[in-house]
């Protein structure tokens, strides 16, 4: 009886058994069944999955013509209608590792099957870790057996559709996502364990590695305020009464632009604030507490500032994702620069 799951295995010609460096340029090719490390890998998979085909390609050929190589390999792989692609392990072999990572990524994207490779931490192939399950290996082939066991274990889980635990628990490199799990210890106990290790100078591992945020160097001062064109941007969630654009009060992912060109003041009957992070009662009673358009118009008339830009940009700055906010900021800045704005008054809550 055929095994329930079909697996295709990718090896370079050396591990395939075709020879060493002299075979580094051979074209994509395939043979039925497991070869080289594929044999112990088949043992590790047991009767539940069968390595139906092994594909290979010279490391140099792949390095020089990656798209062609992977497309041709994918054709060979697809013929077998596999449930899973396993590649390597490639340990610290750079070209081989890059080929494994590249092929696995494309198999995931075009054939829509899970793909796993196994690389040493310094292998350049780990650049594909966002899209591919990459298991960690030792630097040399001495780590072959544990690597094959890990590949088989994770591969079977993926084919069965079993839920995976965290990257750390499953042994693959983090792909850059976070997910909630139930763990053995309560958060407070984990905190005390971590703190005691830190106090005693022992090793500990944080559960969250913080990103480094960009610093924004302040722009040089506006030389001539009397002739400057000034725009207003607010993160206070200013909206026309009734919030016609249905702007979010938290986690905004877009901004709105409202015309203020013909307004001398913001009437509380026409505008309100829609913001999930502070009590808006006071600013709703008098929007000028947040957006002092009345005073700015006065300054404009007195000639203390040149001209106010015709639109105000607005969204609720409340738990918006960093990358989303950075994107909105870049877009607003580009637009204002294009319209000859010299300075921006950012009104925050």
């Amino acid at each position: 009886m055929a095994a329930p799951y079909r697996v295709v295995h990718y090896l370079n010609p050396f591990f395939f058994g075709l020879g060493g460096e002299e075979k580094a340029s051979i074209e994509p090719t395939a043979k039925a069944g497991p070869f080289g490390p594929g044999r112990p890998l088949q043992e590790a998979l047991g009767g539940e999955a069968e390595i139906v085909k092994t594909v290979t390609c010279g490391d140099n050929f792949f390095a020089e013509r990656a798209e062609e190589a992977s497309d041709r390999l994918l054709d060979l792989i697809e013929e077998s209608r596999p449930h899973l692609l396993l590649a390597g392990p490639a340990f610290d072999a750079g070209r081989y590792g890059l080929a494994c990572g590249h092929l696995c990524r494309k198999a995931g994207a075009t054939l829509n099957i899970p793909a796993i490779t196994a690389l040493a931490p310094g292998n350049p192939g780990i650049e594909h870790s966002k899209d591919v399950y990459i298991l960690s290996t030792s630097n040399s082939v001495r780590g072959m057996n544990p690597a094959l066991q890990d590949m088989a274990r994770l591969g079977l889980k993926l084919m069965r559709g079993e839920p995976l635990h965290s990257a750390r628990e499953e042994g693959y490199l983090p792909r850059g996502f976070r997910k909630n799990f139930r763990v053995e210890k309560r958060g407070a106990d984990r905190a005390l364990d971590m703190l005691l290790a830190k106090v005693r100078g022992r090793a500990f591992e944080t559960e969250l590695i913080l990103p480094k945020f960009d610093g924004v160097p302040p722009a040089p001062p506006v030389k001539d305020l009397e002739s400057a064109k000034i725009a207003l941007v607010t993160t206070e969630g200013l909206v026309p009464k009734g919030n016609p654009d249905r702007m979010d009060s938290t986690r905004a992912d877009r901004y709105a632009k409202y015309r203020i060109e013909d307004l001398d003041a913001l009437d509380a009957s026409a505008f309100e604030f829609h913001h999930g992070g502070f009590s808006t009662a006071d600013v709703n009673n008098d929007p000028h507490r947040a957006v002092p358009l009345d005073v700015l118009r006065e300054m404009e008339r007195e000639g203390r500032i040149g001209k106010l830009f015709g639109d105000i940009y607005s969204f609720a700055g409340c738990s918006t994702y960093y990358e989303t906010a950075a994107g909105m900021g870049r877009e607003i800045a580009r637009e204002l620069k294009g319209r000859g704005v010299n300075a921006v008054l950012i009104l925050s809550s």
Partner: protein, 420 residues
């Protein structure tokens, strides 16, 4: 300061003509309880219902969650109904295995979902408790702040009313809590590391802050508080439940304080608790962090501190400032934080601030991960949802932060947000 918490377990709640504790059964005269709450003219109705673990029942419009308790002498929740007196000593009886959930139509409150069965029950410890639901309706014309305050007082009264059933009973268990910062480890092993706790509480304006001894905390500056004061009702939620935040129950049964007490004299010496709010101004965040680092280093002589937060977003700079100022003074820090991972759970920007000194973080959960809650047969707490235009009984996709108790900012459950 010595506090004894007596436990009276409850595993069944039933209607009765007389409110009493009969073994593990709590009998409740709902009419009498309702009449007590309606003595407050700010309320025009108070419906009392029971929800049981495993029942197909969804509680919505949640304002706060309490446990029933009574002090042998003196006022529980000091400062809410009468003049504030120092909490944290003497004997307090607590009904365990149950909670009181107050509900009502408070403007600005977020939707909260507490299902007594299904995925929600796996996420929230509150779903595993026998529950008395108190649904309040404000008198016409009562403003938001007025209703929020009336709801707090109703919760405190309900807690005391049911707690009163333990008055003449015999507890099944008893815990003693004693900690004295100034005399080292209470005469125990002084070589143990001294660990303190920095405890910021939510404080964002009207009906949006915690009460300390019954008063608003938006102008609170850092101060020392005894852990027993917290466990004995000095800290109460002032308004509506933001489901990802701590409700009063979480402060009464504080995960970090209990953990530090359990380790006290064994692996650590519990050096003390510093309470603060999350100030609005950045300059205050820096000032408060410096004050607290000085308390931790110079007054509590702490080797390390655990730091929690009680809010998202603007609480993150507090965490980072506290971390930096403590580490600069040689006090090691571990931070507990929930996070809002980006689109699809992307790791980037889980917090809104970051310090390179923050190298020991316990990730208590990703608030924006979604969970699908199935249809529930019975709805308590209100008739309609606020932000979802659908029948409240229907299946609904919600984020973890809409389920009270799913994410514990005080590390009181086993959830962790981890890399995948």
């Amino acid at each position: 300061m010595k506090l004894t918490l007596n436990s009276f377990p409850v595993d069944e709640i039933k209607d009765s003509r007389k409110t009493a504790l009969d073994g593990h059964r709590l009998l409740v005269n709902r009419q009498e309880m309702r009449d007590l709450l309606l003595e407050d003219e700010r309320l025009i109705s108070a419906e009392i219902d029971f929800a049981h673990p495993g029942e197909s029942c969804r509680i919505i419009n949640i304002l706060d969650i309490f446990d029933p308790r009574i002090k042998a002498e003196g006022e529980t929740f000091s400062g809410i109904l009468g003049p504030a007196k120092l909490a944290g000593s003497g004997t307090t009886n607590v009904l365990r295995g149950m909670s009181i959930v107050t509900c009502g139509p408070l403007d600005g409150a977020e939707d909260a979902f507490l299902d007594m069965t299904g995925p929600c029950a796996e996420l929230s410890p509150f779903a595993g408790l026998e529950t008395v639901v108190v649904r309040l309706t404000p008198a016409p014309g009562l403003d938001r702040g007025g209703f929020a305050r009336a709801a707090v007082e109703a919760g405190v009264k309900a807690s005391g009313y049911l707690g009163e059933t333990t008055r003449s009973g015999t507890p099944e268990g008893s815990e003693r809590f004693e900690q004295n910062s100034l005399s080292g480890s209470n005469g125990r092993d002084d070589s143990l590391p001294r660990i303190a706790y920095i405890y910021p509480i939510y404080s964002q304006g009207d009906a949006r802050d915690m009460l300390l001894y019954g008063r608003n905390t938006r102008d609170l500056i850092p101060t020392l508080i005894h852990p027993n004061e917290v466990m004995d009702g000095a800290v109460v939620w002032a308004g509506f439940c933001r489901p990802a935040k701590n409700v009063t129950y979480n402060h009464l049964n504080h995960g970090v304080i209990r953990t530090l007490y359990e380790a006290h004299g064994r692996s650590i010496s519990f050096a003390g608790v510093i309470v603060t709010n999350h100030p609005k101004l950045f300059s205050d965040k820096v000032l408060y962090a410096e004050m607290m680092a000085r308390f931790a280093a110079d007054i509590l002589a702490a080797d390390g501190v655990i730091v929690t937060k009680d809010s998202g977003g603007q609480a993150d700079p507090d965490l980072m400032q506290i971390c930096e100022k403590c580490e600069e003074r040689g006090v090691k820090t571990t931070l507990l934080t929930m996070e809002a991972a980006g689109d699809g759970g992307s790791s980037a920007g889980a917090l809104v601030d970051a310090s390179s000194r923050a190298d020991a973080i316990v990730a208590v959960g990703n608030t924006v991960e979604e969970v699908r809650l199935p249809r529930m047969e019975r709805i308590l707490g209100g008739d309609r949802l606020k932000d979802f235009e659908q029948d409240p009984r229907y299946p609904v996709e919600v984020c973890f932060n809409k389920v009270p108790g799913a994410i514990s900012l005080f590390g009181d459950n086993r959830l962790a947000a981890l890399e995948i």
